[in-house]
């Protein structure tokens, strides 16, 4: 591993550490008010409703997909940790696979030393 690769590794590990801290620790302090979209619906469509919260839920409808393991980020710290890890692996893994696929197509350098 070259010196520049070590520098990149430090950036990646540092960035991941920040993401984990934000998702696991800072997430405990997140505000619980409705977000901008929900609030806009509460202040317009649901403004006259006796229970605006119920009105919002009715507008959002029954979720079509119900298999989420941690719906609404229940167990906040665990949701943050898992979400950060999965997002990293999926994001980096997807583009890494695409780049590898390209290396093995005909007409390009098929046999790099890194395999």
């Amino acid at each position: 591993m070259t010196r520049r690769d070590r520098g990149l590794l430090a950036v990646v590990l540092g960035g991941l550490l920040v993401a984990v801290m934000v998702g696991v620790v800072l997430s405990a302090f997140a505000a619980s008010e409705p977000d901008g979209l929900e609030s806009a619906v509460v202040k317009t469509q649901c403004a006259e409703a006796p229970d605006p919260e119920a009105c919002l839920e009715e507008a959002a409808g029954e979720p079509v997909y119900t298999g989420a393991p941690l719906p609404d980020y229940e167990i906040t710290w665990l949701s943050g940790l898992l979400g950060v890890i999965v997002s990293f692996v999926l994001g980096a893994g997807l583009v890494a696979l695409l780049r590898r696929g390209r290396q093995s197509t005909p007409g390009t350098a098929a046999h790099s030393s890194r395999g």
Binding site: G7, L8, V11, V12, G15, L16, V18, A19, V20, V22, G23, L26, S27, A30, A31, S32, E33, P34, D35, G36, L37, S39, A40, V42, T44, Q45, E58, A59, A60, G61, E62, P63, V64, Y65, T66, A68, P69, L70, P71, D72, Y73, S79, G80, L82, G83, V84, I85, V86, S87, V89, L90, G91, A92, G93, L94, V95, L98, R99, G101, R102
Partner: protein, 222 residues
Amino acid sequence: MHIPDGFLNAPTAIATGALSAGAVGYSLRTAQRRLDDRQIPLVGVTAAFVFAAQMINFPIGLGTSGHLVGGALAAILLGPWMACLVLAVVLLVQAIGFADGGITALGANVALMGVVAGIGGHYLFRGLARVLPRSRGGLLAATAVTAWATVAIASLVCALLIWLGGPFGPEVVPVMLGLHALIGVGEAVITTAVVGAVVAARPDLVANADLLPDGGAKVVPV
């Protein structure tokens, strides 16, 4: 700004889904052809950070909170197509893992945050940076304005979608835009802080750092 299943009718969900599928498909092809290998882990780190930051709702008053979208952030650090891909990854993880955003509205959510904020944010940023002074201050000013504008514009498009393609009346449009004009200030603060820190530490890894006077970028926007 995560749209749930019930906010869009079927034609709108399908049309925005098709648009997003096209944008993500093109982004994947662009990654395959043009991505610098050093950017591979950075795509992952950016996705991880955007996921985490989207968990942090900050209060803006008016009984409302907002959180980072991250489209402008990803676009400035990586480029337009990787920004679209990063937001698509985050939104997919949120929908499948945490029931945040409806699965039938995934296309619309990718269209708003990946295409409008991400891809659109990149070109807005390049345009702004060219008219502002070619300095670190100019770059960060362009960053702040872009971050604010991406949230405002995405919220306007979102409001038009749920009005014209959903069950809501037109009065939702100005309220959406007004609230997100405030939320956009938070987007600008966070995005400028993060871009400023990365540009200070490793300008060679920032795709849009070619706009700096010393042309610090060693990677290009993808």
